[in-house]
Symmetry: C2
Subunit: 539 residues, 2 copies
């Protein structure tokens, strides 16, 4: 017997109707030509034209519309127009290597591409390798490079200007595909995660929750995490449901530009990877960011030293979060529960610096090597597995990645984690990044954090290398703070008492830079190659 409730899909068209209610609220975009401000009313109106333009371009139902862009108003228009008209928005990372980009565009069989003018020099040389792409729409962001004279190219604004009637949104089954984002491929081939309308809307609703990001109408949200990266962690859609203002940094990603914009627009909420917060932190005294209520760090572990520096400068520590492309992405974020009322400010910051309990609708379990659940005692590690309506069930495209899912349909994250009695998640390490020394596990993440707590260390990455006696030993790659020096001895002394003595590495590389992936994470793959070149092979 069905309940007698209205059959209304959770879809992007409903999100678009929602944000019209906040038509007076604003989206600010930084462009090479200066800041552009629009109201949500204008953005929705343009999105309806864009939806019609996709019809004019002959983009079929459910075809993939690729996008290369910085965070901008036009990207928001794509977020609205593409899914609400029944197509699939494929967000693309222009920082990937050329052959990765080509592989992904072809694997997704993108029908048309939208490209920021400033990114055209990156994308255009690859276009002839994109088998399925018929047209390229250039979004002129004030960059001055030449636009090739090619019949496939059309200007975004000219496209919109040519539309007769705005499109009526399509009402899909809410389980239809809405957006596509490939994993960063640190653990194999990039694989396509295909979000449904339902998962997009549910995830955005979850971000409004008081114990999640608590996004509200009063917020001025500045997503520094790219809109091509898991939908900027869902923030644009959450801002639409809430009616928040959005501030979008465009290509102006220098710490100085980000901080200045944050201060000028009285930003209340921002989110990005630790490297962003590390870059801004030394400048915090130079701007008034007292409007900030929550600053979320995600994508990799948050070093407590960085959060402490933010707390000292702004009064608020950073808030950790955890998720993956496969999880929409937010699964858990740092928060203080009623059991933490007696903690002092330092302990509260440390608590916020770890992911908290999972969001509603999202379930976690940790299992041993045989797949049996292990205790939620905050100490016993196991592989983290995730279930819920915002979690992937498989992959789109050539690589089905079936080994990433359990028989009962849970996602195997590849992360090793503990969960405590209050449901607090703590990521110990990526499964393959644990260092097994003398039969015992060393957490490379924990060791990196302790090394980065050294006042003269800017960055540290740890990998395991083969060792005759212990099987494997940690090797630490360390970047000093600019203008400072560090040596092996000093770091070893610093680590004594902070970690078990047998965790302390024998070998350090003091270097100027740690190789990073296209998404800004430490590339352990590249580090292992460098180590191998010096005769230290990974196990």
């Amino acid at each position: 017997m069905r309940g007698l409730m209205q059959d209304r899909p959770l879809d992007v068209a409903a999100v678009m109707r929602r944000v019209e209610q906040f038509g007076h609220k604003k989206i600010v975009t930084a462009t090479a030509a200066g800041e552009v401000t629009a109201t949500w009313r204008e953005v929705v109106s343009r999105a309806r034209l864009l939806a019609a333009a996709l019809g004019d371009l002959g983009v079929p139902h459910q075809a993939r519309v690729g996008a290369f862009g910085w965070n901008s108003q036009r990207y928001v228009e794509l977020y609205l127009a593409v899914p609400s008209s029944g197509r699939v928005l494929h967000t693309l990372n222009h920082r990937l290597f050329a052959d990765e980009i080509t592989h992904i565009v072809n694997d997704a069989a993108d029908d048309v591409l939208f490209v920021d003018r400033s990114l055209l020099p990156r994308v255009w040389p690859l276009v002839d390798g994109f088998g399925s792409v018929r047209r390229i729409v250039v979004m002129d962001d004030g960059a001055t490079g030449e636009i090739p004279a090619d019949p496939r190219i059309v200007d975004y604004e000219e496209l919109l200007a040519g539309v007769g009637e705005p499109a009526r949104p399509v009402t899909p089954d809410e389980n239809e595909a809405a957006c596509l984002c490939y994993t960063s491929g640190t653990t194999g081939n990039p694989k396509g995660v295909l979000y449904s309308h339902r998962s997009i809307v549910l995830h955005a609703l979850l971000l409004l929750g008081a114990d999640a990001f608590a996004i509200s109408e009063r917020d001025v949200v500045m997503p520094i995490v790219p809109m091509f990266h898991v939908n900027a962690w869902g923030l644009p859609y959450a801002a639409m449901l809430a009616g928040s203002d959005l501030v979008l940094p465009g290509p102006a990603m220098s710490p100085e530009a980000l901080l200045e914009r944050m201060a000028r627009h009285r930003v209340t909420f921002s989110a990005g990877v630790p490297a962003i917060w590390r870059g801004i932190q030394p400048l915090l005294g130079e701007a008034d960011v007292s409007s900030l209520r929550m600053v979320v760090s995600g994508g990799s572990a948050l070093p407590d030293a960085l959060s402490r520096a933010w707390q000292e400068a702004t009064g608020i520590p950073l808030t950790s979060s955890w998720g993956m492309t496969e999880t929409s992405p937010l699964v858990a974020c740092g928060r203080l529960s009623s059991v933490h009322d007696d903690l002092d400010p330092d302990a509260r910051r440390v608590k916020l610096g770890l992911p908290g309990p999972s969001l509603p609708l999202t379930e976690l379990r940790i299992v041993d090597d045989d797949g049996n659940p292990v205790a939620h005692d905050g100490e016993t590690p196991g592989e983290l597995q995730v279930s819920g309506p915002t979690i992937a069930s498989g992959y789109f495209g050539g690589d089905p990645g079936t080994d990433k899912f359990t028989e009962d349909g849970w996602l195997r994250t590849g992360d090793v984690a503990t969960i405590d009695e209050y449901g607090y998640l703590r990521i110990v390490d990526r499964t393959k990044d644990l260092v097994k020394s003398g039969g015992e596990w060393i957490s490379s993440v924990a060791l990196e954090n302790e090394i980065m707590a050294h006042p003269d260390v800017a960055e540290a990455a740890v990998i395991g290398v083969v060792d005759d006696k212990w099987g494997e030993r940690p090797l630490a790659c360390v970047v000093p703070v600019a203008g400072r020096t560090v040596d092996d001895q000093g770091i070893r002394r610093h680590l004594e008492g902070r970690v078990a003595s047998w965790w302390i590495p024998e070998r350090f590389w003091i270097t100027d830079e740690i190789p990073k992936t296209a998404t800004g994470k430490f590339s352990k793959v590249a580090l292992r190659k460098l180590a191998a070149a010096q005769g230290m092979s990974a196990p």
Copy 2:
């Protein structure tokens, strides 16, 4: 093309798994025998036994399980066990008239009934008129009345004690029925609203939103609104998703008992009808309720004078809300948007005292008599219609009420409202409660509020009565504050300048009590009968 996301239903079983994560949090119930405290872990464990017991009782899949009870832990167990085991929880209002109760139980064809021992004297005399009811489970709340010796009666705790194995939850289609609640029947026959698992879970998620009730793990939630009344406005399910503590007043509904409990358990969030807040207000100086962060008033219009008295006594004004049995119920609640930053405290309180913009996923429109949309200018009234996945599409049982829905499936609320440019809803009146005088509408709600702003007036209700000259004129029924007196002249002087002069009634009834419906609202039906008995007929 379907998105590749996990197929996980939004169902009560998922809510039950969710609250297990907060197993250490508490539910406190006031009973005649004193307070009972349990953890969520215990409640879920008992709910799993209860689910099995329903099987032992032979309750079929999707059969209705009726419940007569005060807000209590056992009622929470019913909220979990009944829907998660595939049955439908039918919440029943013991304050209805006997023939209404009998009609509703029979219309729903309840298979078994759960009844608080203290309510047995009310329910038992009616049982032989309940055609479908096979068994009566008595929930012993410490009341001392005799329990009839009847083979149909079984004790709740004995039932649980007799269970061998806890039940495994059923995984339903999320659109299956979960709960049933009849309308209060102020506008005709009571009609059954049949909530689905999906609507229950979505509504609970919406209550967690920062701009809705912002229910969080840190909250101590005290629903004073009955659990038989639209699922206590969804608060128990929201508390389960958030992991809040619950404080349940049981039958101890006196203002003194409510206030004492609120203070003792450091309640942070409470919700009830204006009559509850009016009862507690004079006592506010006698207890420390500084823990309160939000006090929600709903069910009828919130008089500003009452909210001001709360603001003066506690520092926080009351927050208005609007909804109906058909809307799960929350559609909108008072809140301050960024456009209200410059308002002074009085103006902010007035704003919070009106429903705000609709919740996400919930859409409003106002239409004229021909069904055409009217402007959202905050002035033009129209009939309020509502759409969304938490809004009814029809009724269960004998009365289909098809005239309550538009051709495109929106709910016709029967309320007349305005909506302003920021989406703020303002209820002008029930369609049938408007007074049409000389061709112009007088809002009985607005007039009541202005009369109740008089310091010596406790309650006021306005109806229209036939008038030879004007067609219709308002008649005001007024209850003075205890120990005070008011007269027609004084109220007329008070109204001058507050409302248009032609709104001011010629006739007042000064009385000790205004007749109320079973749900505590002014019964305009009963008032009209009283007026007719005195020769003043309703139009």
